[in-house]
Symmetry: C2
Subunit: 207 residues, 2 copies
Amino acid sequence: MRGWFITLEGGEGAGKSTMLERTHRWLLQQGHTVIKTREPGGTETAERIRAIVLDRDNTNLCPMTELLLVFAARAQHLDELIRPALRRGATVLCDRFTDASWAYQGGGRGLPAEIIAALEKAVHGDLQPDLTLLLDLPVSLGMERIASRGMSDRIESEAVEFFERVRKSYLARAAGSPKRFAIVDASVDEEAVWRQIERALREKLTR
Amino acid sequence: MRGWFITLEGGEGAGKSTMLERTHRWLLQQGHTVIKTREPGGTETAERIRAIVLDRDNTNLCPMTELLLVFAARAQHLDELIRPALRRGATVLCDRFTDASWAYQGGGRGLPAEIIAALEKAVHGDLQPDLTLLLDLPVSLGMERIASRGMSDRIESEAVEFFERVRKSYLARAAGSPKRFAIVDASVDEEAVWRQIERALREKLTR
């Protein structure tokens, strides 16, 4: 049987890195063989593509190019790493996936749903995550949290309205696939966030 | 009025570089302001993407990633260079364009027409070349010509059957848009090839 495919999504300052680590540790403790990876990236070629997408000096990058680069990296990631790992029965834990393209390039940049849907179908029409943990919080709170971090990448430097559209798109996407998504209130303290995630993992992975 | 958009296509060893130079010179002599460019590439970001596509060491690159990278580079090229030049009234002369994606990634790699058509529509549904010069010749003759060249890139290293499919796809694409395409017999000597191109240019550009 193929392994579990779990993705973690959320806006800036939602605590995604911390929860990724805790989820990884928890899965290992439960005896899973875990491949922890991220998007865009996860393979050598995909990381080369990621460098173009996130380069702060790349101020001219047009939205359509950004979308196609993200899906190019994804196709490679699926081919080289995600699909082989799932076939071996490993659990794949991925920091962002196609929901992020709907949120950032669709909602954020305003690209048409038609091309995103065509790309999703062509690249992984046969495969969706089993569980998507969406760390949700008000944009203003997320911005406060990242303000203290210093240097940000090209996408993190967007305006508040951009992130409002990202959040709205994530929630719309979750509403469209309620069985796959667990919406986690990420505005509370770390332990309270983690308790919600652990509950979602237990519910999904014991079925 | 927007400028002329002319593309040059053809398989390996068809003499594309030579004919690109001669076409460029001829257009300048006729008084055109010419932007000569190439795909994948033509802008800084697009050239970074080109380097990933043509890297000989990149043996794992999957066909879908190749297709999406080529269209990512194209979107950027259109946005930064081709569209602004056409708007200024310049003539854009481009070494390969979307017909090459149909030929190489569609015919050569066997990717579905559905996703190529969706990408073409999303990236430049509103804009097609005014004239596409297709340098056509038997694959065996093209291979003979490039054998003497030495070092080849990742795509030039494909097998003969691959280039047979590329040629067939180019001809099918030309059959679908006979007004846009001029099929040039590239098996003859340089002057005879050039005479065909000059005739096609005169016919198209005096209308």
